[in-house]
């Protein structure tokens, strides 16, 4: 993959007639896009289908892309919308589980349990975290993905999801708190 070319360079080449160079953009964003789609849709097949649709829409919309925002933000916004439409078709609510409820159930993180974490290898923690993310409500898993995997800022996440920045920050805080609770639960059970 030619990493030296910026997204903007590739788009310019595509516009100049080198359409096959779109493969570079697909290769650059397919894994990050797939991770995001999977966080929202929770199903590999649906996620891949949504990702394909998003890439097709992005290609057809290249003409309208003026480069005012980053290509990545624009791409994730399209993917995010495609995924929400898919969820709508499945009649699944994006935020069907209330995290407030979850947080209330688990209460504050117990102080002494963090010492248990230090006994766990990072690799194990990663596996636990992955499982914990899968248990998170989709809207929080999505914010976690956009922030940590897609490396978007609060402002960019707000642009993608069309949610106010304050809400993004709150979601991120709650998601991390819930994740921390989930991890503590896992680790306590494992060390019982």
């Amino acid at each position: 993959m030619d990493m030296s070319l910026s997204d903007h360079d590739i788009i310019e080449r595509i516009r100049a007639g080198a359409s096959h160079q779109y493969a570079l953009l697909i290769d650059r964003y397919k894994a990050k896009g797939m991770t995001l789609a999977l966080r929202i849709l929770r199903n590999h097949e649906d996620a891949e289908e949504a990702l394909q649709d998003a890439f097709v829409r992005v290609y057809r919309g290249l003409e309208e892309f003026e480069g005012r925002s980053k290509f990545s933000t624009w791409f994730y916004r399209i993917l995010y919308n495609v995924c929400l439409t898919k969820l709508g078709e499945r009649k699944t609510e994006f935020d069907r589980v209330s995290l407030d409820q979850e947080a209330d159930e688990h209460g504050e993180v117990v102080a002494d349990s963090s010492s248990l974490q230090e006994e766990i290898e990072m690799k194990d923690l990663l596996a636990h975290a992955q499982r914990a993310i899968e248990r998170l409500p989709a809207k929080f898993a999505t914010i976690i993905s956009l922030f940590y995997i897609q490396d978007l800022s609060h402002e960019e996440i707000s642009e993608v999801t069309k949610l106010p920045i304050g809400t993004i920050k709150t979601h991120l805080f709650r998601a991390r708190a819930a994740l921390q609770n989930e991890l503590q639960k896992d680790l306590v059970v494992e060390h019982w």
Binding site: S19, H20, Q52, E63, L126, Q130
Partner: protein, 185 residues
Amino acid sequence: MNGHLSENQIQHLVDRNGSNEDMMRWNTHLQTCEACRSRTDAFRRLDRVLHMMPLVEPSEGFTGKVLKKIGLREAPSFWWMFFKNFAPLVALAIVLVITYFVLSASGLFSQNAPSTTSVLSLPQVSGAFAKGTDTMTAWLATYFSWIGKGGKLVLYLVVIFGGVALLDRFILTPTIRRKALTGRF
């Protein structure tokens, strides 16, 4: 500071998101509170783990599937690119050589040719081209005995197809692509 840091304060601390005054106050508290230090460490560890989360790859051949859906082909191989760019150049060379031979054999540019300032009539031009192609076909037949009466036709076809291929490669296709992508010619 009374009591422990709240979860929100710890997260602000981990994100280095508080005001200078708040950060100083929270850090001072951490120095004396083992419980809050542990909780902060746990959040820092979570933050590191989340940054390390592995990506999920789509299935094999995903890029090809998308390109097919769009109606594009995957990036061509080196040899295809070489052939793609080499073939039109060869076609251009053949067309130029044939044109040169035909024109030079037509007598249009000989010393006895009509003055270039005077306008040639269509029969004069077509006659000259016919003479040129006859000469060239006869010349080719001395090297390639299989070129018979159809040689002249083959010569015309080569020039026509070569010309069309060049027109397509360098003008039509790029223009159509540009129009499709940008809406402009």
